[in-house]
């Protein structure tokens, strides 16, 4: 069955593909996880959803969230189609 929900806006739920890196990717064993999300939700809501993940949930201390390749505050809205990434503490150089 075709997934018509997002494009027609007949439901307020959608799937978000969350990209993982570094220790998160290694822990989870995936570079992307899919989480169900709701319209009007924020980065803070996404954090709560991720905190319930059986593996990732315990490893989110100090992590940032990037939407569309920009670090975002907890009150930023997450929209369908956003490029979403969880960023563990960074260590370049």
């Amino acid at each position: 069955m075709a997934d018509y929900r997002g494009s027609l806006g007949v439901t307020d739920r959608f799937e978000v593909a969350v990209r993982l890196f570094g220790q998160h990717r290694e822990l989870v064993g995936e570079s992307v996880i899919s989480v169900e999300f709701h319209a009007g939700g924020t980065v803070a809501d996404l954090r709560k959803t991720l905190a319930a993940h059986p593996v990732l949930g315990a490893a989110l201390d100090g992590a940032a969230v990037a939407l569309n390749r920009t670090y975002q505050p907890d009150d930023a809205p997450v929209r369908e189609g956003d490029e979403v990434a969880v960023i563990p503490p960074v260590a370049g150089g």
Partner: protein
């Protein structure tokens, strides 16, 4: 968001020769040769290298992972800010990813400026900022076969406030 949107995209901003994350081998001297003009009295290159020890343990490799698409954007922003803040005239930054053994070069920052002070300032700014906000991670592998992801910093949500160009005093 106060993102420096103007420097996002495929083209480096003015004065930024290159700012990218790459799997390729790095060569600071080559980057330095491509920078600067006759009005630049100071040129310098910084190379960050993989060292063979950390916290008393023998290191045999560093494995770098990056959010490549975002990291290129962030590096361009940082390089552009470095020029604006220091008054240096041109800059090139490359950060390597993949598995690197000592003494491989993991980072090069090359700067050209009219005087020494803006050159040092720009170079230092790039390194400090990329440690703060470049989406890149490293796992250290030890001689005993174990490894661990190195602790890092939580990147800030907002970019630093724009600062007028300074550093144009004689160096």
């Amino acid at each position: 968001m106060t993102v420096a949107g103007s420097v996002r995209g495929s083209e480096p901003p003015a004065g930024v020769l290159v700012a990218e994350v790459t799997r390729d081998e790095l060569d600071g001297a080559d980057l330095l040769r491509r920078l600067g003009s006759q009005s630049d009295g100071a040129v310098l290159v910084f190379e960050g290298r993989v060292r063979d020890h950390n916290s008393g343990r023998e290191v045999v490799a560093l494995h770098y992972d990056a959010y490549r698409e975002m990291a290129d954007d962030v590096l361009r922003e940082i390089a552009s800010e470095a020029l604006q803040k220091s008054g240096a005239s041109s800059i090139g930054v490359r950060h390597r990813v993949g598995s690197l053994a000592p003494p491989c070069v993991s980072l090069v920052v090359a700067v050209a400026a009219a005087h020494r002070r803006p050159a040092y300032e720009a170079s230092s700014y790039v390194i400090e900022e990329l440690k703060r906000r470049l989406p890149l991670w490293k796992r250290e592998e030890y001689a005993d076969g174990t490894s661990r992801w190195l602790g890092g910093r939580t990147p800030p949500v907002s970019q630093p406030d724009p600062v007028p160009s300074t550093g144009r005093e004689l160096g």
